[in-house]
């Protein structure tokens, strides 16, 4: 067991923190895939509108890696397929039956899982259509089943604001979690790294077999798997590591133990736009409407599939994205205070990482969608550097990407970066620059070159 201390960063204290208990979200009517969120794939449908599907039957596959299929996250029928510009598949909506049927696979017990080979585990995950749960770094895209990763990372610590408390979500699931880890350990010659918060005491994450546990302490983004990789097994060109969400490890474990794909998922619903923020027992691809019904405050709100730093703008007709387990709702604000730039600031009106406002003591701040300024040329007052716990020069990397200088991007370590690790930089930037999207722009260029 190793200990890692992160110094740079910031825990955003935001009101609407989800309560640490799990409520039932009820049986939803619709669930959906939104294939656009899977980067660098070319989805090809295996179903058409009106087809009946079971939980686990393949819905679409990737033309670039035809073995990678996506299993249906519900049992019922395909009620609609939405296309966007140039026939991009936007949504595949599945209307659920009251009693959903599921495809069944071989089940194993813990000892049998330990005896499986890499090929057996890979084939099992591919056949069941839940391979997309395994992603790779660099590029944060779906892992290539033919690769052997240097190691596998499972972050069991969510440090972003209003996200799922994994202590709560994985309670009573330690057996499946352990089975998932054992299965994943077959896929790599290196370690399965499980990273937990230093204050964590949950028995789920202690005494794990087939895994290396790391304790991490420090502010957000300490819980981001990209930061953890950077400190434990840093990337370099040609090296690949895989990452799996902690809740997805449980799903993988259940597939091996029970022989079925269990799409259930604990989703945190929080933010100052929500009446009683809490954790909900729901499922993959649940509709935003089911999750927020009877919970929204009055007034204009923004629904976000994901956390407030990295999630996607959504509305009640959208669905929670595959890799997200958080729904955040924050209000819009139209306040335009007179001479606001001269305001002394208070814990209720302003929130800043700098001391430019008297905002200390802000324990839980009711953030809105206000940009709090206008986009300007960059003002290098170290606002990015102070919240990025990586050996990376964000300012210079940003410029190299804007200049489209591929060689310099590589030299400055772009390969080790992911946009989600830079979200806090955008949050803190006084010039209101979206650093993360530029990082992704650079990664897109590098990915294309490969």
């Amino acid at each position: 067991m190793s200990r890692i201390t992160i110094k740079k960063g910031h825990d955003i204290h935001m009101s609407g923190e989800p309560a640490k208990n799990i409520e039932s979200a009820g049986h939803p009517t619709f669930v959906a895939y939104q294939p656009e969120e899977f980067r660098y794939i070319k989805p090809k449908l295996l179903v058409k509108e009106g087809d009946s599907v079971k939980i686990g039957s393949p819905i679409f596959f990737d033309k670039c890696m035809p073995d990678v299929k996506w299993a249906s996250i519900g049992g019922g029928k395909i009620s609609a397929i939405h296309y966007g510009y140039r026939r991009v598949i936007e949504k595949i909506i599945i209307e659920l039956d009251k009693y959903e049927e599921a495809v069944e696979y071989t089940a194993f017990d813990h000892n049998e899982i330990s005896g499986l080979s890499k090929t057996q585990v890979t084939d099992h995950l591919l056949a069941a259509g839940i391979w997309p749960m395994i992603r790779q770094r660099p590029y944060n895209k779906i892992a290539n089943p033919e690769d052997t990763p240097n190691s596998i990372f499972i972050s069991c610590y969510n440090s972003a604001p209003l996200t799922v408390d994994l202590d709560v979500a994985l309670r009573n699931r330690s057996s499946s979690f352990q089975a998932g880890i054992t299965a994943l350990s077959k896929l790599t010659d290196g370690n399965v790294n499980v990273i937990v918060d230093e204050t964590c005491t949950s028995s789920t994450f202690m005494d794990l077999k087939d895994a290396e546990t790391h304790m991490i302490s420090g502010p957000h983004p300490a819980g981001n798997v990209g930061i953890q990789i950077h400190h434990i097994d840093p990337l370099k060109p040609g090296k690949v590591v895989w990452t799996v969400d902690a809740q997805h490890v449980v799903t993988i474990g259940r597939l091996f133990l029970k022989g079925v794909f269990d799409p259930s998922l604990i989703i945190a619903v929080g933010g100052s736009g929500v009446k009683n923020p809490t954790h909900l027992k729901s499922r993959l691809g649940a509709s935003m409407e089911t999750l927020t019904v009877d919970r929204l405050q009055d007034g204009p709100q923004r629904m976000i599939s994901g956390d407030v730093l990295t999630g996607k703008t959504s509305d009640k007709n959208d669905f929670v994205h595959f890799y997200e387990s958080t729904v955040s709702v924050i209000p819009h604000s139209d306040k335009r205070p007179f001479l606001g730039m001269l305001h002394p600031g208070s814990g209720k009106s302003h929130y800043s990482l700098t001391n430019t406002y008297f905002s200390f003591g802000a324990n839980s701040f009711p953030f809105s969608t206000l940009l709090n300024g206008e986009e300007r040329a960059m003002m290098p007052i170290n606002s990015w550097e102070n919240v990025l716990p990586m050996d990376i020069l964000p300012n210079q990397l940003y410029r190299a990407i804007l200049a489209n200088d591929v060689e310099e991007m590589e030299q400055l370590g772009l390969i080790e970066c992911d946009e989600e690790d830079f979200a806090l930089c955008s949050f803190a930037c006084p010039s209101k620059i979206d650093v993360g999207s530029v990082i992704r722009q650079g990664l897109d260029v590098l990915e294309k070159e490969e």
């Binding site: 955003i12 840093p234 370099k236 060109p237 090296k239 976000i304 994901g306 407030v308 730093l309 990295t310 999630g311 703008t313 955040s328 924050i330 819009h332 139209d334 306040k335 335009r336 205070p337 007179f338 001479l339 606001g340 730039m341 302003h350 929130y351 800043s352 990482l353 700098t354 001391n355 430019t356 406002y357 953030f367 969608t369 206000l370 940009l371 709090n372 300024g373 206008e374 300007r376 040329a377 960059m378 003002m379 290098p380 007052i381 050996d391 020069l393 300012n395 030299q411 400055l412 370590g413 979200a423 806090l424 955008s426 949050f427 803190a428 930037c429 006084p430 010039s431 209101k432 979206d434």
Partner: protein
């Protein structure tokens, strides 16, 4: 303030696309967002943002400059009453100086705003709030005796050549206010070179504190300063600022308060400041040690005198710490600061033509900042490449 909001809302259609004043949208936008904070919203992640924006940064720098303005006004009145023999109270001194500063301030702001608006309209970019700081700094760098046309010419040069031709705030390589100061320094050397004092009284002339040791050979700087009877060039008097000089730079105590404020708010980077102090004290100590080897009296000036003389502290507080034209990396900021402090002493002591070295030291360091950053970045790359190769 509802009526003001109403006026602005009524005016808006004239400035939006298709309106008769469409070209001047930047002007409307600036007035609108300076008076009322913008309600622009995030479009994608991150959906929430810090409260700090560039407007706030700029206005806080202006706030940090205010004490210098107030003391500058008092000091102008005080100095002139000393030499004209007119007795005045503190308030009267302030109003006398206020009457001197106000036209300079108005000229600087009017000229600066004119160029800023012109470039914003032609280039179709928003008016940058950075000009507030530039125009607030320029009067403080000027002697109280300056003719207004020189203020206008200097501001024009500073804003256009120092900033706009590079693309505006954030893209400039030299500090625009210092470019303005350098312009009049070199364009009108007989009036501005910094060897003669400036007083708002006719017919009085004398040497500035820095020019005193510079003019004599084989002397002791502190002794020479104490022998000057025309002005009180004692250490404490120079610290509290009751000496003639440019409008804003004399009171070192208020400058240090402003500096402390900027460091506490994290707008100014402490590395530059600590580095500059190390550079200044280190180099001055070195010149003290070497002083017996030379006839140059300036070499005998001790570090704590260097600190309170001339524009060093003012330049350090408000210009060397400027984030855009300084080094952009933390290691670079150390180097930038140390070299700035060292160069100030070197130019002051060794170069007889320029008794005041701060301005040139900052401009020189502005020019070298990208080079410093280049080497810091290269060392970062080297370290990374070594790691990539090692495993």
């Amino acid at each position: 303030m509802k009526f003001l909001r109403k006026i602005l809302d009524n005016l808006e259609p004239k400035f939006t696309k298709g309106g008769p004043l469409e070209k001047f949208h930047a002007v409307y936008n600036a007035a609108d967002t300076i008076l009322f904070s913008t309600d622009e919203k995030t479009e994608s992640a991150p959906h929430i943002r810090d409260s700090l924006d560039n407007k706030r940064i700029m206005i806080l720098v202006v706030v940090a400059l205010l004490p210098c303005y107030i003391f500058g006004a008092i000091n102008i009145g005080y100095q002139s009453s000393q030499f004209s023999g007119i007795e005045r109270s503190g308030w009267e001194n302030f109003w006398f100086g206020f009457g001197v500063i106000l036209p300079i301030l108005i000229t600087a702001f009017a000229t600066g705003a004119f160029w800023e608006v012109l470039f914003a309209v032609i280039r179709k970019h928003p008016i940058s709030e950075g000009f507030l700081v530039t125009c607030a700094l320029i009067p403080l760098l000027m002697p109280p005796t300056i003719p207004l046309w020189q203020v206008a010419a200097a501001t024009t040069f500073g804003v256009v050549i120092g900033k706009e031709i590079f693309g505006g705030v954030g893209m400039n390589i030299f500090n625009p206010a210092l470019v303005a100061r350098a312009f009049i320094f070199f364009a009108y050397p007989s009036q501005i070179s910094g060897d003669k004092v400036w007083l708002k009284v006719d017919g009085v002339s004398g040497a500035t504190a820095l020019a005193v040791p510079a003019a004599v050979e084989n002397g002791n700087a502190v002794d020479l300063l104490s022998k000057i009877t025309q002005f009180d060039y004692s250490w404490s008097n120079m610290f509290w600022g009751y000496i003639p000089g440019s409008i804003g730079e004399t009171n070192k105590f208020l400058i240090m308060i402003g500096l402390l404020f900027l460091v506490m708010t994290k707008i100014a980077n402490w590395r530059v400041i600590v580095g500059a102090l190390i550079g200044l004290v280190g180099t001055a100590s070195l010149t003290n040690i070497m002083a017996p080897l030379s006839s140059n009296t300036m070499l005998t000036l001790p570090p704590h005198y260097h600190l309170v003389m001339g524009g060093f502290l003012f330049g350090l507080a408000f210009m060397a710490t400027e984030p855009v034209t300084g080094a952009h990396t933390d290691k670079g900021r150390w180097i930038f600061g140390i070299l700035f402090g060292a160069l100030t002493v070197i130019i002051r002591s060794i170069n007889p033509a320029y008794p005041e070295g701060t301005m040139l030291a900052i401009l020189l360091m502005n020019a070298f900042a990208p080079l410093i950053d280049y080497y810091v970045v290269q060392s970062n790359i080297k370290r990374r490449m070594a790691r990539y190769a090692a495993e």
